[in-house]
């Protein structure tokens, strides 16, 4: 297991995110059947697997957008499943980007970025707007600040969504199939932003179908199938020499 951040000798550094024996059921249907996962600070983890296998649910359990049926979710050592934890405070530290962008359609791009910092962190308007413009420039959308989400292409919306999440200075970013709803020619512009983010040392969990992205930027690849982590390891190793049959079968289908 390689970490993006250099682990110091001696005591193992506290993981950024840790899942301990996480189970999740929807009614009678058990989607996660015991997930154990430790993600180091600065690590980029790509989560792959067949649809319905539980990888999106796994990701949504990290910020408890889905409550867990059993097990623990820890963020920087804090057990999020403990009683009395204010999830709304915790979620400020976890940025999330969705397949369907989820931008507020009635707010301009600039307002989408500044809403949470201003309302939740009580930051000054001028300072947040300055930051928003800087982030928009970083994702290549300097001139779109006054536009509205539905006036933008899918790729542009997704880059705005990433910038919106970054406005809260998250400690970890969750990406839930962020390129799956995009036209093929728009995928690379979003991946470029994610590459930039990964290289800046951000801790990232990415549920993805982009094997190229996983291979190039992932510190680790996690293959989720049937509600468990069926295989994990160095992306190149897992992609080129999978150990499990089910991993091999899945990769044969997607890499064809």
């Amino acid at each position: 297991m390689t970490g993006g951040a250099s682990p110091t000798a001696g005591a193992a550094p506290e993981p950024m995110v840790e899942l301990r024996g996480v189970h999740k059921s929807f009614g009678d249907h058990e989607v996660l059947k015991g997930i154990d996962l430790r993600i180091a600070r600065g690590e980029v983890v790509a989560i792959i697997g067949p649809s319905g296998g539980g990888k999106s649910t796994l990701l949504r359990c990290v910020n408890l957008l889905e409550s867990v049926t059993a097990g623990q979710v820890l963020l920087e050592g804090t057990d999020l499943t403990a009683k009395g934890v204010d999830l709304n405070l915790i979620r400020r530290r976890i940025g999330m980007v969705f397949q369907q962008f989820n931008l507020f359609p009635h707010l301009s791009v600039l307002q989408n970025l500044t809403l949470a910092p201003r309302k939740l962190l009580k930051r000054e308007r001028a300072a947040t707007e300055e930051r928003a413009h800087a982030l928009l420039a970083r994702v290549g959308l300097r001139d779109k600040a006054q536009g509205f989400p539905k006036q933008l292409s899918g790729g542009q919306q997704q880059r705005v969504a990433i910038a919106r999440a970054l406005m809260m200075d998250p400690h970890v970013m969750l990406f839930d199939e962020v390129t799956s709803a995009l036209d093929p020619e728009l995928v690379s512009e979003v991946l470029d932003v994610m590459r930039d983010l990964a290289e800046s040392g951000m801790t990232m969990l990415c549920v993805t179908h982009e094997m190229g992205f996983a291979r190039e930027l992932g510190d680790r690849l996690v293959f989720v199938d049937g509600g468990i982590i069926a295989e994990q390891g160095d992306p190149k190793q897992v992609l080129d020499h999978p150990e499990q049959d089910r991993t091999r079968q899945f990769l044969r289908k997607v890499l064809r």
Binding site: N63, L65, N88, L89, I90, R91, R92, I94, G95, M96, F98, Q100, F101, N102, L103, F104, P105, H106, L115, A116, K119, L120, G147, F148, P149, K150, Q151, L152, A161, R164, A165, M168
Partner: protein, 241 residues
């Protein structure tokens, strides 16, 4: 068209000519202009309070229903069921004639606007609830993931998007509230219709008076529809939602 001369004791009212034609005397409107004007003002007063109140009731209770707040949600359901499924006339009679028996005497004016608030409110609860719930859950999730609490997310996401979605059906309800102000004739509250009926009784000018107030109601409803369209345009979201 009758061809025979109409006898003096004909069932046809005054204004009818011997050949059955009708002689319009629009002057009757001018003669009673101040009464009609006062009636219109009362209609506008109870309608305005009724419409505004029903929107407030609709947003607050519709919001609570959409948020599925326990207990409150059941009480709201009960309120909506009662006021949507009983005749407005019965509600008016209840407020005006039944409540005094338990010591609550309300004036005609109060019953006028209150009954419209309660009746229109019940419809608007459903209009707004449906509007709030029609908001794509993805937007709500976007808010929750940023760390907004449930209520704040509702205020920042469901409210601004939901009222836009609800606007056409709310407009319909408000138009009905306005037209139903004429039901106050049942308790002799002298709004426009009651005033007109009284003027007909003394002037016998049925056609002139009812055509005139019909035109007034029609013009005002058109104005309201126009207003709704302007609001829709003013608050349209660039690119849609």
């Amino acid at each position: 068209m009758l061809t025979e001369p109409v006898p003096a004791n004909s069932a046809l009212g005054p204004g009818f000519l011997a050949d059955g034609g009708y002689q319009f005397h629009w002057g009757v409107l001018g003669d009673h202009l101040s009464e009609l004007w006062d009636g219109l003002l009362r209609t506008l007063a109870i309608s305005a309070i009724g419409m505004a109140g029903s929107v407030v009731v609709g947003v607050l209770l519709g919001g609570a229903a959409a948020l599925r707040i326990p207990v409150l949600r059941t009480l709201i359901w009960l309120y909506v069921e009662i006021f949507r499924n009983t005749p407005l006339l019965v509600q008016i009679f209840f407020l005006y004639f039944a409540l005094p028996d338990i010591g609550i005497s309300l004036s005609g004016f109060t019953v006028g606007w209150l009954s419209l608030v309660l009746w229109g409110g019940a419809y608007n609860v459903e209009n707004f609830r449906a509007g709030f719930q029609s908001v794509d859950p993805a937007y709500v999730e976007g808010g929750r993931a940023l760390g907004f609490p449930r209520l704040a997310t509702f205020r920042l996401v469901n409210l601004p998007l939901g009222w836009r979605a609800a606007l056409p059906s709310v407009t319909n309800t408000l138009i009905s509230v306005f037209k139903n102000s004429s039901f106050m004739i049942a308790i002799s509250y002298p709004e426009l219709t009651e005033t007109t009926v009284n003027l007909v009784a003394v002037s016998f000018r049925v056609f002139e008076l009812f055509i005139a107030i019909g035109a007034v109601y029609l013009a005002l409803v058109w104005l309201m529809s126009l207003g709704a369209r302007l609001i829709e345009r003013r608050f349209a979201i660039p690119g849609g939602f």
